[in-house]
Subunit: 168 residues, 2 copies
């Protein structure tokens, strides 16, 4: 399997389309890595750097991993991997090894210490350079009702994109 470093924004239409359906796969953690499904992210340029911004609730196992080690990968699955994406979005890594459950191969990072999923066609290697949080005040009422009925407002991690790779 060859891995090719692709143009930064070349895969972005595919990335955002897959993020919307079936979702993307966020990998964090070094000693005890985990994968969780994300449906939200933004990509662009901040501070002159290519940046991928992710949203993780404090209650998540992945949150504790991001707090311990400031690197992550965002893996873009195919539509055929919807079942695996569902598992990674409904089970907690505290209770199971989701890589094994999904038959995902965790490959070592190229520029970071966090791995990526061999079976996903595109992945982003990122290092957190900034963190803030969703501010409840001013959010539309329906957003608060739909996503924050029990609080747990997302922390927001800004990852410098160190590389975008395609698994051939």
């Amino acid at each position: 399997m060859e891995i090719e470093n692709i143009d930064l924004f070349k895969g972005i239409t595919e990335t955002l389309t897959r993020l919307n359906d079936p979702g993307a796969l966020l990998v964090a953690g070094v000693q005890r890595p985990n994968v969780m499904t994300i449906g939200w992210a933004t990509i662009g340029i901040i501070w002159g750097m290519p940046i991928c911004v992710i949203y993780v609730r404090p209650s998540r196992f992945t949150h504790s991993l991001l707090e311990k080690h400031a690197e992550f990968t965002v893996n873009i699955p195919t539509v055929e991997q919807a079942a695996e994406v569902m598992v990674c979005g409904t089970k907690s890594g505290r209770e199971m090894d989701k890589f094994a459950e999904c038959k995902f191969t965790l490959e070592p990072g190229k520029k970071i210490d966090v791995g990526h999923i061999k079976e996903c066609p595109i992945y982003y290697e990122c290092r957190t350079v900034h963190k803030n949080a969703v501010v409840p005040d001013g959010l539309p009422h329906n957003v608060r009702q739909t996503y924050y009925a029990s609080g747990d407002y997302h922390d927001i991690y800004y990852g410098e994109i160190l590389g975008v790779f395609r698994n051939e």
Copy 2:
């Protein structure tokens, strides 16, 4: 001149490439609109909505306009419009009408009350649904030194993308 509503993420490679060089043009304000150059933005999905995130320092004239009226457009210029982008990035709308200076035509919005620039090939109509701010703690030292030597940390506006249009 026909205006076509294009697929949400269809123009995104062009958008992020132009954002990087020569920059994009942010229009805000209804009674007294203004245009400023931005080199930073991220685009993606949050809260199940297509979102364009922009970064504006509190000292900017545009900041006061965004605080008064929660809508904006992001206009994507051509590389040939680099001179106009330079004007909009170095002059303040407090002191001049930058639309007149750049011979830009401000056309009325389709879904919002803020206008867009007829001469730019692509534009995004957005309504702010969330605001937070850059948090100084934890920013890399070189980022603080390069961008925040005098403070004025950016406020961050999350605009729901209501439409992406191409000026033909």
